[in-house]
Amino acid sequence: MSAYVLEMKSISKEFPGVKALDGVDLKVRAGTVHALMGENGAGKSTLMKCLFGIYRPDAGEIFLDGKAVELASPKQALDLGVAMIHQVLHPVRDRSVMENVWLGRFPIKSFGPLRWVSDRAMLAQTELLFRELDLKIDPRARIGSLSVSKVQSIEIAKAVSYQSKIIVMDEPTSSLNSAEAERLFQVIADLTRRGVAIIYISHKMEEILRIADDVTIMRDGRLIGTWPAADLTIDRMIARMVGRDLGQRFPTKENVPGEVFMRVENLSSRLPASVKSISFDVKKGEILGIGGLVGSQRTELIETIFGLRPKASGRILIEGRELAIRSPADAIAHQMALLTEERRATGIFPMLSVLENIVIANQRRYLGKTHLLRDAGRTADARRYVTELRIKTPSIETPIKNLSGGNQQKVLLARWLLTQPVLLLLDEPTRGIDVGAKAEIYGIISQLAKQGKSIIFISSEMSELIGLSDRILVMCEGRLSGVLPAEGATEEQILRLATRFVS
């Protein structure tokens, strides 16, 4: 019998171009809260997805109660006693609470050859489960009508109903208020008393020091170490999460920020009202980085500036003149460009060729006298950018979906450069692309700034923020929590600002 309910040994996982996990060990004791920490992209989620059977590790072993197991699917993980509470919950909103709890394993009654789902048994079992956990929720209520915190407790109840020995919670308090978070901590204490181990992923340091027994810290897909929480302080945790040598990953600064180009005053978003009264400016030839945790509403901020989301109030001034931007078309007309965070969802047209993907935002330029598109101009521009940005593609007629992530990203950059923008909004421009392409994109960004263009870029990689920006704006929960000059900024400072309003 092992002392550990879970042992993950030298787990490795590689995605095309990225080593997401590199020989990571994780040992979790029964009946404890084990915090898993690291920057965005450190590999926490990937590790947990390996545990939950969503990803299959390339190498390494997983032991549950000392027995080696193969986890090929979430269903199998659940059956072996591993449950996961995701950061964003996706219940079947239009069905009842109890149907959501027993989904995939409804209680069945039979009579001869007939088999049917027994609502009565389901109700009884749900009531029993909820009583045990002291949950006061009507099992027959439509789950979509309940608050996030209730849906989360239902999710936990579901994990308990699977007789789970390990429950993974991914940032469970990120959408809870402090009273709801307190209740969650009680539930966690109650679960650990029953011998359940909790793997707790969170960025909130105070929270972790309060409830965790052990803390494992990861960085860049590698294990940094595991310590008893009692031996740690916030400073020590931050130092271990970030401490890395930047080296010459970033191009030497050659851009010289000039006068103020765009000023944003008290900008708030509507539907949802997530961005709260933000003011800042960006200069000509400046690279302004935006840092913050997932959920700090950075994307919402720049999408509101670009007219993709409606604004509630506030002004956007370019060179002192107020602009009315109601749609992306307006923003493009004012020579803005937006490289979105979700390349697949809002960037590429997967079926269309590299050529069409490059010229799509810039069609008017190719209209001839007859008001028809001239192929010669389109092809020439596409060819030029394929060469200039060194886009690796068999031809400009190749569908973009056949290209690697980094090359897709370069095609999207080409699309926007073709519109001759003076202000570029780049949302996580290097997410999910390999190191080589990353360096090339850094080079392009720095070159653009040198030409006098203003650049606002969002990144969750703090080294990138410090290495590339002139100034760093940090957001926390939809508010501006500080602006730092990049020179001399430390990752600790950014992380502190990023958690400034976190309760």
């Binding site: 937006l338 809002t346 047209f349 069409e356 028809l372 569908p399």
Partner: protein, 333 residues
């Protein structure tokens, strides 16, 4: 095996519909060599001409990521509208007994405009009201049929088939120049215009973009709503034009004209390589799809195949075409 074989396989996938069309023609010709005649070609082109006009409208909508179920009923409405205003003065049961002889283009424009208006309605419902295209056009399909029935049932017509059409009107459907029927020329012009729309205009490029990724289209500054409205309006107008030509060709009109044509049009599009999830399709593919069905209809009857069996052949071709098409995109992803 090896590279050559792979290239042949890729080629066959790419041009599968044209190969199927060729096999059909050759197969039928072997059974019945008389099939290869100018008369057959003429008949196949004649029956394809109105169908291809409707199918191109459906293709526009499908590529933009939608579907137009109202096309068939618009054909019926346009046929009845144009025929009701283009009867010879001496005809006994005129729809409008007192109507003077209108210039030919007036009723034709009215009928096409009616189609355009219905398309506009579809486009507004889909874009501004955010109704799923299937539902929006299902609704307009039923509404248009109702409107047509009311119009058709007016005194003194009382739902009688409309006949006695003016010869200048029927000539559009049955006349020819240098033994090429006018109606085939119209269809060829429409195919050409739609090819230009697909390949050489911003509207066409935006249609592919919206069908391929609506959110990315929005970020790229495309006015998605305006584009969709234009596309549905053009599709409606094309169905209206097809209705006018159907009336001219058959020399009359009834309210049930065009029934189920929308499904035939969608089937032809799908067989011709148009994706029902949007973003993919060509004008020449749609033409090939329509021709395949025309060859099946005419050719299988020509060799004396049981008409009931023909339905099964058509259905199998639809399913097989999509199965092949799906593989085409698998092999590349």
């Amino acid at each position: 095996m090896g590279a050559a074989w792979k290239r042949i396989a890729a080629f066959s996938l790419e041009y599968a519909i044209y190969i199927v069309l060729l096999i059909l023609v050759v197969g039928i010709a072997i059974r019945e060599p008389a099939f290869l005649s100018a008369g057959s070609l003429r008949n196949i082109l004649l029956s394809s001409s109105t169908r291809v006009i409707i199918a191109l409208g459906s293709a526009l909508v499908l590529i933009s990521g939608g579907v137009d179920l109202s096309a068939g009923r618009v054909v019926g409405l346009a046929a009845v509208l144009s025929a009701s205003m283009l009867q010879i003065p001496e005809y006994a049961r005129r729809f409008y007994p007192e109507l003077p002889n209108l210039p030919l283009f007036v009723p034709l424009l009215i009928a096409v405009a009616a189609g355009l208006l219905i398309g506009l309605f579809n486009g507004l419902a889909v874009s501004k009201l955010r109704i799923a295209p299937f539902i929006a056009t299902l609704g307009s399909m039923v509404i248009v049929y109702g409107l047509n029935l009311i119009y058709f049932d007016q005194e003194p017509n009382n739902s009688q088939p409309i006949g006695g059409l003016r010869p200048d009107f029927t000539a559009l459907g049955s006349g020819s120049v240098a033994s090429i029927p006018y109606i085939v020329i119209f269809a060829a012009v429409v195919v050409g215009l739609i090819w230009i729309l697909f390949n050489k205009t911003i509207l066409g490029k935006n249609m592919y973009a919206i069908g391929g990724n609506k959110d990315a289209a929005k970020v790229s500054g495309i006015n998605v709503d305006a584009t969709l409205i234009k596309i549905y309006a053009i599709a409606g107008a094309l169905a209206g034009l097809a209705g006018v030509l159907e009336a001219a060709r058959s020399g009359g009109a009834k309210s049930n004209y065009g029934e189920m044509y929308e499904l035939d049009a969608i089937a032809a599009c799908v067989v011709g390589g148009v994706s029902t999830t949007g973003g993919i399709g060509t004008a020449q593919g749609v033409l090939a799809g329509v021709l395949i069905f025309a060859v099946i209809n005419y050719g299988l009857t020509f060799i004396g195949m049981n008409p009931n069996l023909q339905y099964i052949v058509k259905g199998l071709i639809i399913v097989a075409a999509v199965a092949i098409d799906v593989r085409k995109y698998w092999s590349r992803s």
